[in-house]
Amino acid sequence: MSIAAQPEYAGSASLRRIAGYGPAIVLLVTLILLWELTVSASQISPRLLPSPFAIVQALFDNWDVISGHTLQTLLETVIGLGIATLLGLALAVLLDLSSWIRRAVYPLLVISQTIPIIALAPLLVIWFGYDLAPKVIVVTLYCFFPIAVACADGLLGTDTDLLRLMQSMRASRWQILWLVRLPGAMPSFFSGMRIAATYSVTGAIVGEYVAAYRGLGLYMEEAAHSFAVVLVFAAVLVTAVLSLLLFGFVSLLERIALPWYQGAENR
């Protein structure tokens, strides 16, 4: 009976999940329609605010150029996000080693988030030039922080009963970390990952704004200087889609890693 019931349950669950996006889709469509109507009804010049339809049209017409820039940006984003994840995890474990390290390092991490890129930009160009490195650095700088902080908080919040149980069984510090504390921190880690994934594409674009041969950031800047606002918006659209896809990818990973947690979230 349970075998027969399972696929049906899974089916209704995925249906429910799709239905869960209903409000978002309705809101998005409404906003886009409002935008389209406002632009066509008012006298706003398309050079200031193009209509959504014109943006999609421009995106398709220029896809051969935009796709190359998109690939460049995507590459910088995933490499930066990958490094940020490893760095964030490592920092979270480091912060967790002792309260001394935590107190010493944590303020530095916060300070690292306050540095405006505009101050670093000339240095990044002089030291690392126009290639991949400065963009990956900017993405990493943007993304490691939410991961490190969320994961460190998760490690702190380990169930004390489980800790005592492990200690009573003479588990070593690393065994406790690996078997209990890291798995327990995973929900927090994924929360941090989702924030990082959302910021990562923007990070790459900021990095490209600094100086680049190719990429959506450079494309936006060139389009803006050629007075092609519609192309700037087309690039923004691509950025939004990339961010959503990365966000979705992280959610998918979370679903694979923590199926039980996902179930709890849906309730």
């Binding site: 995507l74 590459l75 160009v125 041969y213 007075f227 990818f249």
Partner: protein, 352 residues
């Protein structure tokens, strides 16, 4: 799925994603390089000197001669493999040139003078346009009909220290007080005027001026050289003092090809504009603007009968002098500079 499989999958998926993206990227890069090498396979393989040129802005008709020389292979004929460094709003070509990160760059008299004042000297080695085409503009329907009307109005500028000083002098020259509000714009100047965010701006007639015409925006234009400012060069090509000392031959070859490019653009307006468009695929949604701008600029790269690129001592004395006297040039500590050796700012020695 057991926990080990879940863990493996969680780690493997991102790794696969990264590998796939890197793979696609590498494939695409390889595709791009093979096409360029095959198209160049016909030219003789000589050892080329790598050289970088830092652009002052996104590609536009000021750069046409360089793109022409690139497209025609004239840099290669001179043994130069020229790479253009795209414009960045975060670092100016002068800094790249003076730190040796770029061999040459595109700049302007104002920047060259300011660079000298703050101790990052660069030298102008050619004038791209022989006469100044800068103007202050206001909307034709604004009632701002002469420079002195600009008193108390909002000026949308680029944030450089010399701008308010020079604009103030222009207003005073027409009998005004030279007092106005200065805001730094990071948007399209013509759109800012259209939406009445600012009252007047400093534009280049050959680009924004043409854009305004094409968009049907009527402007009151006050050319700055008609209003008490002596003629000067903008943009210019610059090189660093070290470069000039160590690689004079390279610079001479560079200027030979560049000069060839601009001379071609003077003679073949349509064709050179088309080259600029072709070399920057997707950069010009309004190609009509490029052609119109090229029509305007081609005859202005140099006066008829004169070689392209030559710089006169008068231009390198008059305007810099004026900038210093109006306290528009600050040294590294922010104090106005009062004197300077203007002859160190430019040289014609590399022109063919």
């Amino acid at each position: 799925m057991n926990s080990r499989a879940r863990l493996l999958l969680t780690i493997a998926l991102p790794v696969i994603l990264i590998i796939v993206i890197v793979g696609v990227f590498v494939l695409q890069q390889r595709g791009a390089t093979t096409t360029t090498t095959s198209s160049l396979g016909t030219t003789k393989t000589v050892s080329l000197t790598h050289m970088t040129l830092a652009l002052d802005w996104t590609p536009n008709t000021n750069h046409t001669g360089i793109y022409v020389a690139l497209a025609k292979g004239w840099y290669r004929n001179q043994g130069i493999d020229l790479q253009l460094l795209p414009y960045s709003s975060n670092i100016n070509p002068d800094t790249l040139v003076s730190t040796g990160k770029a061999d040459v760059g595109i700049s302007a008299t104002e920047s060259v003078v300011s660079d000298y004042a703050i101790g990052q000297p660069v030298v102008s080695i050619a004038a791209i346009i022989q006469h100044n085409t800068s103007a202050l503009v206001a909307r034709a329907d604004s009632g701002l009909d002469r420079p002195r009307d600009l008193d108390g109005k909002v000026y949308g500028g680029g944030g450089a220290a010399y701008e308010p000083a020079v604009v103030g002098e222009i207003i005073k020259h027409d009998g005004g007080k030279g007092v106005f509000k200065n805001v730094t714009l990071n948007v399209d100047p013509i759109q800012a005027l259209k939406s009445k965010q600012v009252d007047f701006e400093w534009i280049f007639e050959g680009w924004e001026g043409i854009q305004a015409q094409r968009e049907g925006l009527k402007l009151n234009t006050f050319y700055i050289t008609d209003n008490g400012v002596s003629d000067y060069y903008t943009p210019t090509i610059i090189a660093g003092p070290n470069e000039i000392k160590q690689k004079p031959d390279l610079l001479r070859r560079f200027m030979a090809a560049t000069s060839q490019g601009y001379e071609f653009a003077r003679a073949h307006t349509q064709e050179s504009a088309q080259i600029l468009i072709d070399q920057n695929k997707g950069a010009f949604p309004d190609t009509g603007l490029v052609f119109a701008s090229q029509d305007y600029l081609s005859p202005r790269y140099a006066d008829p009968g004169r070689k392209w690129g030559l710089q006169d001592a008068a231009a390198w004395h008059g305007y810099p002098e004026f900038m210093l006297s109006s306290n528009g040039i600050l040294d590294a500590s922010g104090k106005p500079v009062k004197s300077m050796n203007f002859d160190a700012l430019y040289t014609n020695q590399f022109l063919p």
